[in-house]
């Protein structure tokens, strides 16, 4: 087995979804968004990856 740490680029869906839900620029509601309740969608997706509670 190679001792190089291979970055998990293509497989880590958790990394991708985590970034696309908790990172990136979020536009506030006063710009012309087509999806007014996109926050609701994000809330549903959040169930897939939830922060560990205290």
């Amino acid at each position: 087995m190679s001792e190089e740490l291979t970055p998990l680029r293509d497989v880590a869906l958790v990394d991708l979804i985590d970034r696309l839900l908790s990172g990136g620029v979020v536009l506030s509601g006063d710009v012309t968004l087509a999806i007014a309740d996109v926050d609701l969608v994000h809330l549903c997706l959040r169930l897939l990856i939830t922060p560990v509670g205290p």
């Binding site: 985590d18 990136g24 620029v25 990856i49």
Partner: protein, 248 residues
Amino acid sequence: MPEHLWVYGVVSGQMPAPAQPGIDPGYRVQLIRAAGLAALVSRVGYNEYALRAALQDMDALETVARAHERVLDAALACGPVVPFRIGAVFVTETGVRDLLTQAQMAFVKTLARLRGHAEWGVKVYALHQVAAPAASTPPSSGTDYLARRSSARATAVRERHDVEELLLATHQQLTDHATETRVSPPLDGPLTRSDADMVLNAAYLVADADAHEFGAVAAQLARDARDRGMALELSGPWPAYHFSSLEP
């Protein structure tokens, strides 16, 4: 069906127009330019209800997420990019231009900060222990029982201390090779590993020139982690999702 504009992110106005399909394969990615900046967008044929449904179906979400990421990856290979979170959808091109104009200073500053950098993700997992076999002999006395309990507690405390020590060392060494860092709460849920608990969820903004060294340090830390029953997973290079807030 009304067409909307899905926004992937913002790049500098000098970026050449990309030639690749968008999240709706029927439409290619295009650039909308204003204020010396350019927004990476593509048309989506969905109406808002279909789009919302698509984002709640796991397979469809994965397709959209990977397409969104693919566009940003291609852009990152050409220069700095400010990635948008999934779901920034505009009705008109004018709306996109207004955004670029109104937030011009913030975009310009962020692009300058990100130039020559990429985000790397590090997640550390504590592997679930295989249950220790029960003691082969029952405790011979109350004193023996208490001694065993005390020993087990001491082991648990020592292991917790080991984990904390390793996480601190890991984060410190990676931070030394990064320009900025962001630690997020560890995650749980169906997408995370079922054989382990996430104990560190961190992102590092690393200069491209330091990326090789950063990877070598992460590889050494991964070996240290493995020796202690943990797993360190490195991912990247990513667009700077965790370093791209437009807040001042």
